[in-house]
Symmetry: C2
Subunit: 296 residues, 2 copies
């Protein structure tokens, strides 16, 4: 069950559309060139979480692609319309965990029309998403091909923008699964840890009684993780220190625990890297998940 | 005017669809993840050109993405249906140059359905496409971020596959235009000449009476150019020698002429690189265009 709401100036609350029939033009540049940006946001009990962070990042992605970003209020209203409709469709008490994934999409629209397409798609979070992650992930390190300094000097590579051009991310995940793994951590051509195809990488290290969360530095061309940031803020308030890369694979192997974090899956513990088991900590996963959920 | 024909087992000749109304599902992975492949093919007087080469490359791109490629016959019939309809719509004698651009698209389809979307879109070649190119292109060299040896060891980067994830290609063209240039030649992080965002790069060099066409080597991760190959075959039959990279920017500056070649635009002469004028040769452009057209 998916609820679809298009941003449309003629419909201030968003235009509800039937997700069971075609709604996109075949010549939409989102479909023909991956030319657009998106976000995947969690909603709990009908309330979107970290919406400001998602809209901030999406506006920044749109800027990188020279796309006009619709007013935040239009997005907020469309999301609200979608979540209300989803609650009605699910029926009270039948919404399972009460959690929904809300996708926000913006494309350049049909070639030559200068009229972007913008829509929201809301659906229940599939149970399988969290079940597999909870068991721990076998992860492959895969070369992303870029060095960790290229983002700044080559803005046309759109590093740090969450674009619809995700074919490489999807191919990396398929490659990992074909090798019997569950997920991927990309590395730069100069050997730095970057991010997952759909997640941020976080490490926990305890030294001399100081508990620290670490993540790669943004300058390496990774996406700014909305969940990573929410977790870091919550953890700092709870007494954790925080740090930013550069990180190398050895840091992953030597950490007390490593997670892939993202808006829908939250914290997914990594249990092996390239076939080598690494330490994990159910207690830390529980502690940090509670901190994160408290901050959402 | 665009004619749209979907590949559909229930319609052996292809299913004609109205291009003026939505035909794609909002959850099609082509639109939400740039997860698919495409080709742009020229048709002259209702006859598609280099169709075998385009279908070969598209099948190879699909394989890289682990997409099942529909039977060639299905594509051929859909293309034929689209071009017939386009001729009728244009009315005899009104089709301008009689040239059409035929786009072939294949996406992974709606998430979770395991049912790819495949369609053909045919429309007249816009006159502007060739007019601007004929005047000569001011080109920027832009770093593609990858080194020229990564393609082979990192198949998940999908180098050499023509995917729908073209956001970087589009961003590079926008970047060039914002700088007052017309087009782009990508270079590798190790300084090799690669390709344009929507074209192959070809150089002509005459030495000791031997006329040679040069292009970067496929191993550098570029797309195999269907027009480049047709031109090389035709030129060889006419007495030209041919050669393959590695090429560096200095080779571009020192060549007798440089072109960006592609299926719709054919040979577009490059007249400057990063603001520095380079030699061009209307006579060679004319000679090679005639050879290419004879081979289409």
């Amino acid at each position: 069950m998916t609820v679809l709401v298009f941003l449309d100036p003629k419909f201030p609350e968003g235009r509800l559309a039937d997700a069971a029939v075609p709604q996109l033009m075949a010549a939409d540049l989102g479909a023909t060139r991956g030319d657009g940006v998106f976000e995947s946001m969690l909603a709990i009990d009908g309330v979107p979480r970290k919406m400001d962070a998602h809209l901030d990042r999406m506006a920044s992605s749109a800027l990188a692609l020279d796309l006009v970003f619709p007013a935040r209020e239009s997005w907020e209203r469309a999301v609200s319309t979608a979540l209300s409709k989803l609650l009605v469709q699910a029926g009270s008490g039948q919404a399972g965990s009460g959690e929904a994934v809300v996708k926000l999409l913006l494309t350049r629209g049909v070639e030559g029309t200068d009229s972007p397409s913008a829509w929201v798609a809301a659906s229940p979070v599939p149970a399988a998403v969290r079940e597999r992650s909870a068991q721990g992930l076998d992860v492959l390190l895969l070369d992303r091909g870029y060095d960790s300094t290229v983002a700044d000097r080559a803005p046309w590579l759109l590093l740090g923008a969450k674009t619809l051009s995700y074919a490489v991310n999807m191919a990396a995940l398929r490659y990992a699964k074909a090798q019997g793994a569950d997920d991927v951590i990309f590395t730069s051509s100069d050997g730095k840890v970057l991010e997952g195809p759909t997640s941020s990488v976080i490490l926990a290290v305890e030294e001399d009684g100081v508990k620290t969360l670490l993540t790669p530095e943004l300058e390496s061309g990774i996406l700014p993780g909305t969940t990573q940031r929410a977790l870091f803020d919550a953890a700092e308030a709870a007494g954790w220190a925080r740090g930013y890369g550069p990180l190398e694979p050895a840091h992953l192997m030597e950490a007390d625990a490593v997670w892939l974090v993202s808006s829908i899956r939250l914290l997914a513990p990594v249990t092996s890297i390239d076939g080598t088991p690494i330490p994990s900590s159910p207690a830390l996963t529980e502690e940090l998940t509670a901190l994160l959920r408290g901050a959402l």
